[in-house]
Symmetry: C2
């Protein structure tokens, strides 16, 4: 086992007792706050110029043994391998999100919404550097094979769209 | 402290005694192998359709206390905040790389080269999903303010280019 030190805490509108959206949600609404331990505040220098950052966090609310097959809540019952999913229930319980950086005030970062429970331990922050991290030729893997995958991609992109075929559900968190 | 379980090991051409390139290197040459513990092999199902994956790893060779200001080896002596850098010497010692997935055979993934030492513990694999992870409007933060930053971006992109101004150096690893 490897020991990892948290550098702070993520605050979101999602209490652990309430539900938390799964990955493909409209992300334009709402904010998260990343509160960094004051010991590490000086390490935030020069970060504010980046439009996006990686938030890396510990999926602390997961208390079940991971299973090697999962059914992502938005994927219409399709079962896929755990590492082909972004399910939060994985051996290392590390989550990552690419998130818009809005402002930094002392040791507190305000970002776009992150789909994790309030109080999630923050493990690291890294700059998202376009040439390293933005792969224009990336694809969608097995998601492309789903019926109605264009609808799911609209969700992921946060584009408003009609729901003709199915109702909204409350999902459990899926990083 | 949070305990994290490794899921496997990353094999690269870089022995820990030798040097290891820093982030902005030509990445088209060479390969890495991600050897996943056989316990987790079934979790690799459905992953092969993704062009890129995130490799998440433990920067195990770092044995110094992190400092809150760092000088990235390719950044011409500029000093920046630790969290505005991809320096490997950070509190949580977690590294992430977006890497091209070439093939999966049983429990072994062959990928583009990852700039980590051979034997680095692999913590997680996640699919890189274009709509979530590829931000076309991402930027370069403080890197844009460096003299000759276009040259650095050529390095990052892996575009062949002339070196008029400076010699190659052997760097220490910088995730």
């Amino acid at each position: 086992m490897i020991e990892i030190e948290a550098i702070g805490t993520i605050h979101t509108p999602y209490s652990a007792k309430d539900f938390c959206p799964s990955q493909p949600v409209e992300r334009e609404e709402g904010e998260a706050r990343l509160v960094v331990d004051p010991r590490f505040e000086a390490g935030l220098a020069d970060l504010a110029g980046f439009r996006y950052i990686y938030a890396i966090f510990h999926l602390h609310a997961q208390d079940q043994e991971p299973t090697m097959q999962v059914k992502p809540p938005w994927a219409k019952g399709v079962s896929v391998g755990l590492f082909a999913s972004r399910s939060p229930n994985r051996p290392a319980r590390i989550g990552i999100s690419v998130v818009r950086l809005k402002k930094i005030e002392a040791n507190v970062l305000t970002t776009g919404l992150i789909d994790v429970y309030d109080g999630t331990p923050l493990l690291d922050i890294k700059p998202y550097i376009k040439e390293l991290d933005a792969k224009a030729d990336a694809n969608y893997g097995w998601i492309e094979g789903l019926d109605g995958h264009q609808h799911l991609l609209d969700h992921i992109r946060g584009i408003p769209h009609a729901h003709h075929e199915h109702k909204h559900h409350h999902h459990h968190h899926d990083d």
